[in-house]
């Protein structure tokens, strides 16, 4: 998700139609805002009980909304075969937001393994900066955290098995004394990133639990030279690690972006940081540790169940899976002041006049504050109206989110098509989405949606006038 997606929900949410539920430390406190859209006279059914949170500081906020509160039914379509048009297409947005951390916010114990590539750099300052950064990271850990230190080259050495960080100084001494081992020999065969991460993950696995934030921090120096090293294989490996609830962050030092290493983080759904200046290593490590400390919820799973007449037809973006009338999505963790978003597309052919239960969201997560599993249900209703309905009934915030997500998805699909050399497909993807967004933009006249349209049109223009296989850089 980009920055626009990750920002905190707008404070104006309360004035928008939809369901907004807050879950506090008790896990039973639900606040639902039932907003009556007086100017259209259509009630929106909200069925969740809204208990007051005991400690709103620890809450995770669930926001479930439709991009339009009224679905128009054309009278002539009642007798005809169902057909899907943009006018009858709706989007449901589920958004989960963690509150910002405060000074008193408890953070989950960390279960972290730091894997350091010891094949080294040409710049000795970079090696020294890495050693210092790891040293500071270890010293910043709390006594109840668990840390392991792994060094890898063409071989892997577990310098410190997973345990309390009190021996950080000793660990670092071993790391520094170990310079020159492995890949630095005359018959060295390159860095075994796969082996290093696997061993680090094995150390993390020994203390994996709901109550801990499990993570592997890789500080890489060289591209992989031993073991599985293709982007595809490393992506598969990253996904395998992530599936066990272990996150991956790679700080690539020295050399620029490395596709195989990036693929590892993409597969794991982790973070990739390229650092070329020794002075940036420390901040990158600190930022990673701070990011891990800001986790508020873990093992987040969402299931949206739709009415049998309005099954979901598509997930916008790469998160989530459709299983018949359900949409499933999961995230490993949610950090403070961050937002997770899931957008499902629904084509409402069979909508009949009146108000209906439309969808229900079930949220499960492990609350780091309370060390408990939390389950929450949030229903969503819809009104189907005959005849003309004013277009201004759109929920501008949700519509904007949908537009941004659709635009990103279209750009990503176009990028993939261009990567394959298929410029025609890239143009087609951009054109289809652009047409839909133009309709929405012309109906809503919303500046952010217009901005997305402008971006896509600019993207499409870079393809115009060029022969197949050629394209301009995006402005």
């Amino acid at each position: 998700m980009n920055d626009r997606k990750n920002r905190a929900p707008a404070s104006a949410a309360s004035r928008l139609p939809g369901t907004r539920v807050r879950f506090g430390a008790s896990g039973a406190r639900v606040t639902a805002a039932l907003l009556t859209l007086a100017w259209v006279g259509v009630p929106l059914g909200l069925h969740a009980e809204p208990p007051e949170p005991k400690d709103s500081k620890d809450s995770v906020e669930l926001d479930l909304r439709l991009d339009r509160p009224i679905i128009r039914i054309d009278s002539d379509r009642q007798a005809t075969a169902p057909r899907v048009t943009p006018l009858h297409r709706a989007y449901v947005r589920l958004r989960i937001t963690a509150r910002a951390a405060t000074a008193t916010t408890r953070h989950a114990p960390l279960n972290i393994a730091i894997a350091v590539d010891r094949t080294g750099h040409e710049d000795p300052e970079m090696d020294a900066a890495i050693t210092e950064a790891v040293q500071q990271a270890l010293e910043s850990l709390a006594p109840h955290d668990v840390v392991a230190l792994v060094a890898y080259s063409d071989t892997v050495e577990v310098l410190a098995a997973a345990g309390p960080p009190r021996q950080a100084a000793g660990i670092m001494l071993r790391l520094m004394a170990g310079k020159g081992n492995g890949a630095l020999g005359p018959n060295a065969r390159g860095a075994n990133l796969f082996g290093g991460v696997a061993k680090a993950a094995a150390e993390v696995r020994r203390h994996t639990s709901h109550s801990r934030v499990s993570h592997v921090l890789v500080i890489s120096a060289q591209p992989p030279g031993l073991g599985p090293q293709s982007p595809n294989a490393l992506a598969q490996f990253g996904a395998s690690v992530a599936r066990e609830g272990v996150g991956v962050t790679v700080i690539q030092t020295g050399s620029p972006d490395e596709p195989a290493i990036r693929a590892l983080t993409v597969g794991a759904g982790g973070t990739f940081l390229a650092v070329q200046d020794a002075g940036q290593v420390g901040p990158a490590v600190d930022e990673t540790i701070a990011r891990l400390r800001s986790v508020r919820a873990r093992d987040i799973r969402v299931q949206m169940s739709f009415d049998g007449n309005t099954p979901p037809t598509r997930i916008v973006g790469s998160v989530g899976e459709i299983a018949r009338t359900r949409v499933n999505a999961s995230w490993r963790e949610l950090r403070a002041a961050r937002t997770l978003e899931l957008i499902a597309q629904v084509d409402t052919d069979r909508c009949v006049p009146g108000s209906h239960p439309f969808a229900q969201a079930e949220l499960r997560y492990f609350d780091v504050q309370t060390n408990r599993e939390i389950t929450v249900l949030a229903p969503l209703g819809v009104t189907c109206a005959l005849g003309d309905t004013h277009e201004s009934h759109f929920d501008f915030e949700v519509a904007t989110s949908v537009s941004i997500a659709l635009g990103e998805e279209a750009r990503e699909a176009a990028r993939r098509a261009l990567g394959r050399g298929d410029r025609v497909e890239a143009e087609r993807v951009l054109s289809v989405v652009l047409k839909e967004l133009r309709d929405t933009a012309s109906a809503m006249k919303h500046p952010e949606i217009m901005s997305v349209v402008d971006d896509l049109e600019s993207e499409l223009r870079t393809l115009d006038g060029l022969p197949p296989g050629a394209y301009r850089d995006a402005p």
Binding site: V158, F194, A323
Partner: protein, 548 residues
């Protein structure tokens, strides 16, 4: 110093040999022992490497069995409905995906029509060519195997998908077969997580730098550990090919050559060197002690010989004077033989005794002096032309009185008497010693025969053989050679009560050998002794003046 040089050199060489030979033998044996132990050590090290790979293979098999058990639990209650199957398989561990095929090899789950999740759709696309007529379809279409229970009808498949090996664990459940797809990297990561690291963890030998590698079916190294860095050309010391489902995967163990014998070589080499030095020290010490003792004995013996030699020298001058004055006295008595008493004159008889005994003493002294010279390697012969028969007759004449007194008949055959070059004094001394021995030991035979013959086997073809025969008791066969050793006397009645120095035959043999010949005791069928003195005596040349 020259008098002791030869025996001392001989003794030194003998002691050096006595010391060096055992040390050399010990060194050779020690070297062979080290070689044998090194070979044994290599075998032992290889066995250790094999054991280590066996242990690793067992550990890998244990991991695979654990995965099989884990996957088996997902097949215990297999729902019929595709949605329920999707839900049941949603929580599969790691990157594992599941397919279900019916007994016709058709895909039951996920739906081939693409109604499933994105992940399920991708799985269907990925495995499409293995279903139906592919290997998965073949496994699903099989007739149940007779005698195999449904719970045991399960196994592995490992085809390659898009160039990457993929593993399928399958379970036959009634008319359906469940396939769990596990990627190579996922399986490899599971193994790597539990394999040792570097330096080797628990169970490894951190003191010995080795390298172990895990290679996949394509020969690519997936993971390695150990401090040894083999070069590209180095061959593995041990290899283990893994079995299903990792068929084609290998474990290879590398170690430097020095590690193959390190267990024994150091200690054994030290022990052999210590033994070698100890043995050399002991033998050297013993040789030194023997050297000191023997040289002391030789010095004492030499001092004795030197003393006798000096005494003999001192005796020689007065004896010469005695003889000279005896001769003068005999001449004056002949001049004064006024009464015509002739040989009946008692003074003449007394004087003859003096002359005879002084001659005998002279021979004795000459023997002693020659023996001393031989010990000092100064014994020489001075040759000149002449005939041997007069020398023989002179030697017999010197003993004539005593032979007559002992009633020993003398039989001389001196017909072969050419002019030759020889030392007359030496020949006379040889014969004198032999005749003296006849007087001492063979007087009972009352016979002495001396015969001159040609010696055609002489080195230059010109030689003389002198045969001296008696009819005494003879010499036992086992003593025939020992009688020529100085101071040796047979301890029997033959020599009991007989005075003698024990050096006569030794001197006689040395003199014969200085003539290029020898002195031997020949077998005598008629009894008694038969001595043969052979002398290389060349005929004289015109300008002959050589001295040997």
């Amino acid at each position: 110093m020259t008098q002791n040089t030869r025996p001392r050199r001989t003794l030194a060489l003998m002691l050096i040999a006595m010391t060096l030979i055992p040390v050399a033998l010990f060194a050779i044996l020690g070297s062979r022992l080290i070689d044998d132990q090194e070979a044994l050590s290599r075998v032992e090290a290889t066995r250790v490497f094999d054991d280590r790979l066996d242990t690793l293979e067992s550990a890998i098999q244990t991991i695979v069995r654990g995965l099989e058990r884990e996957l088996s639990r997902y097949t215990e209650t297999l729902p019929e409905d595709a949605a329920a199957l999707s839900e049941a398989f949603r929580r599969l561990p790691r990157e594992v995906d599941a397919l279900v095929l019916n007994d016709e090899g058709k895909l039951v789950f996920p739906s081939a029509r693409g109604a499933g999740t994105r992940r399920e759709t991708a799985l269907v696309d990925r495995t499409r060519r293995f279903v139906q007529q592919g290997v998965l379809g073949q496994v699903a279409r099989r007739e149940p195997v007779a005698g195999v229970s449904a719970a045991d009808d399960r196994g592995w498949l490992s085809p390659a998908i898009h160039g990457t090996q993929t593993f399928f664990r399958w379970y036959r459940k009634g008319l359906r077969t469940v396939f769990f797809e596990i990627g190579e990297v996922s399986l490899a990561s599971e193994l790597v997580m539990q394999l040792p690291d570097t330096p080797e963890g628990a169970g490894g030998d951190t003191a010995r730098p080795t390298r172990t590698m895990l290679l996949d079916a394509s020969g690519a190294t997936l993971y390695q550990w150990g401090l040894h860095e083999p070069d590209v050309q180095e061959a593995p010391k041990s290899t283990r090919v893994l079995v299903q489902p990792l068929a084609g995967w290998r474990l290879q163990h590398y170690a430097p050559e020095s590690e193959l014998s390190v267990a024994y070589e150091g200690t054994l080499m030290t022990a052999v060197w210590a033994g070698l030095v100890g043995l050399a020290f002991i033998l050297g010490g013993c040789a030194w002690l023997i050297w000191v003792a023997r040289t002391r004995e030789m010095r004492v013996a030499q001092q004795r010989v030197s003393f006798v030699n000096q005494v003999s020298h001192e005796l020689k001058t007065p004896l010469t004077n005695i003889r000279m004055y005896a001769d003068l006295l005999a001449a004056s008595l002949e001049d004064d033989d006024m009464e015509g008493l002739g040989d009946t004159d008692p003074r003449q008889r007394h004087l003859a005794v003096i002359v005879r005994e002084s001659d005998r003493l002279s021979r004795l002294i000459r023997n002693v002096l020659n023996f001393a010279r031989s010990q000092e390697e100064r014994l020489k012969v001075s040759v000149r032309p002449g005939r041997i028969a007069p020398v023989v007759e002179g030697a017999v004449d010197n003993h004539r009185e005593s032979l007559r007194g002992l009633e020993i008949a003398v039989d001389l055959d001196l017909s072969h008497d050419p002019v030759r070059v020889f030392d007359a004094d030496a020949v006379e001394q040889i014969l004198g010693n032999l005749i003296s021995n006849v007087e001492k030991y063979a007087r009972t035979g009352h016979y002495l025969g001396i015969r001159l013959e040609n010696w055609p086997e002489a080195p230059n073809g010109q030689g003389v053989r002198i045969l001296v025969r008696d009819r005494g008791p003879g010499i036992a066969k086992e003593h025939r050679e020992r009688i020529f050793e100085p101071f040796w006397r047979a301890s029997d009645k033959l020599s009991d009560g007989v005075a003698g120095t024990g050096i006569g035959l030794d001197i006689a043999r040395r003199l014969a050998r200085l003539h290029g010949g020898d002195l031997r005791l020949l077998p005598s069928p008629e009894g008694g002794c038969l001595f043969e003195a052979v002398l290389a005596t060349p005929p004289p040349t015109a300008d002959y003046s050589r001295k040997t």
